[in-house]
């Protein structure tokens, strides 16, 4: 299914508009990377995309349905979110945490059906947290916690995956794993959106790069064409250039 933001504008009550006339399309099989400095509206856009907040103008459509007209449960069956932060003090074991991803699929009482248990086991194995199943979430390392949350998002079995800086707490090896996972999921037909701060690996791993600046999308397309030195200077207010060589490698040069 295609998730599409159509000319959306959003403002929090107390401030100026955070998003201005933003349009974005997330297609099955495509990994979209959302780049931009802090405060450029990336997370707000993500929250609009899953209907958590309602744009003042424009609309978000899942296929042809406005997400604002769907129930939270319906949305959660289609769109999974990996949040930027999850409180570490949640008093659940890893398996119970991943099981929460099945909430939207359950009627009230069959939350732990055989199908749910199977799905949870598959998702835990996929993220390499199966051996932690009975460990309290609060005892995990940052990386294990993040992988548990991603497993929970997979357990939702949605067709769209929105990840808000999924790599923020991960070391390099685990970052690469998350990128690989995003690619695999896209290969399976999911539409994936990742908010990225890393300009070294992410540009190689996304199909579409979208650059945001002050609540607007300033460029979208092939990462190589979007993340040019001029645009990095404009968007990130820093002098940097990403040099692409032909072996699908990038070298970044930063001028302090």
């Amino acid at each position: 299914m295609i998730l599409r933001a159509d000319h959306i504008t959003f403002a929090y009550a107390s401030s100026n508009a955070v998003l201005h006339d933003v349009s974005l399309e997330l297609r099955p099989g495509v990994v979209t990377g959302l780049f931009g400095p802090n405060g450029s509206g990336k997370s707000t856009l993500l929250r609009c995309l899953n209907g958590a907040i309602i744009p003042a103008a424009g609309q978000v459509l899942l296929e042809k349905r406005a997400v604002t007209l769907m129930t939270r449960r319906e949305i959660a069956r289609h769109i999974a979110v990996v949040p930027q932060d999850t409180p570490a003090d949640v008093p659940l074991a890893v398996r119970q945490m991943v099981m929460l991803g099945r909430y939207a699929h359950g009627t009230t009482w069959d939350q732990d059906s055989l199908e749910d248990a199977h799905m949870v086991a598959v998702c835990m194995a996929r993220l390499g947290v199966a051996h932690l199943a009975h460990r309290p979430f609060s005892h995990l390392s940052g990386g294990e916690r993040q992988r548990t949350i991603i497993a929970r998002a997979l357990a939702q079995q949605g067709c769209v995956l929105l990840m808000d800086e999924p790599n923020a707490h991960l070391d390099l090896a685990h970052q690469l794993e998350v990128y690989q996972l995003a690619r695999t999921l896209a290969g399976e037909g999911q539409a994936v959106l990742m908010i990225c701060h890393d300009l070294l690996v992410a540009p190689l791993m996304v199909d579409v790069a979208v650059a945001m600046h002050q609540g607007r999308i300033v460029a979208a397309g092939n990462a190589r064409e979007v993340l040019t030195p001029q645009r990095l200077a404009e968007v990130f207010d820093t002098t940097a250039s990403i040099v692409w060589d032909d072996c699908r490698r990038v070298v970044a040069q930063f001028t302090p």
């Binding site: 939270r72 949040p83 999850t86 074991a93 119970q96 929460l100 909430y103 939350q111 009975h134 309290p136």
Partner: protein, 342 residues
Amino acid sequence: MPVQRRLIPAAYLMPTLLTGIVLAAVAALAVGGADLTPARIISAMWEAVRGQTSDDTAARIVLGIRLPRIVLAMAIGSGMGLAGLASQTLFRNPLASPYVLGVSNGAAVGAVAAMLLIGKTISYAAVPVMSVAGGLAVSAAVFVLARRCEHFGHSLLLAGIAISAFCSALTAAALYLAGERLQTLVFWLMGGLWQATWRDVMLMLPVTVASLVALLLLSPTMNVALVGERSAGDLGVNVRRFQVLLLAVICLTTAVAVAVSGVIGFIGLIVPHLLRMLVGADHRHLVPASAAGGALLLLVADTLARTLAAPAEIPVGIITALVGAPVFLWFLHRRASGGTWT
């Protein structure tokens, strides 16, 4: 490797609690100021079951005094256990109790006002009515104040604390002005079940049953709510509707409980917390366990309250705290190395 360990498997907990309740109820029926033999108690109950009315003293004591008091203690204890669990879920804080919203203080203001006016304009029947009205008025005020804020739970807490303080001041003022009625008011405020009647049971029991059913239905959602408002929404919870339902359970249960028994502290705080340490945070186990645990604790505490210093009555709130606090501390000590909640 530290594994999330449970002190008692969840499957054993409910049978244990229910057995405890039955034993405590039998003991509570058997003990009391009047010296009744077990045979007389049983025959009085048997006659009542067969529909025979007898005017004998034993029947009046057992059916008119002890039995309603036992049922009321269980209903209030259960209700407060459930309201406490709902509060801890709503505020995502294991130290929340149903009293933090100020509902109990509002109910106390209503009751105190009613008692001060008794004999002048209104009758004793008005005490629970005014009390429930006071509690619900505070609930409504807190809800209206917090309604528009993004962090609903947080705002509720702040509004509740402020209104709580305001109501405490009103109660204090009423005590100051009470004159010769001071002792009655103070004794009522301490909480107790010595005036338990079937009328009180009819008021409290339906509320407790309704809360239990509501929270059982909400228990999977309560599990999701552990991850915070925002993530719960992402996982498919209509967060605002859920919070309003929890709020309704807390306010209604607390207002009615305070109306029939005064402010009995500690049960709403300690029961869910203790059981969470015992069986873990899965609300599908915690909800029935909190209902049963609350019923057991208040039944035992109330039986002690009316027998320890018989024929005098000790306010039951003193017993719940005296018995509850050390037990609570003991568990806390045992689990000191565990997580923040469990």
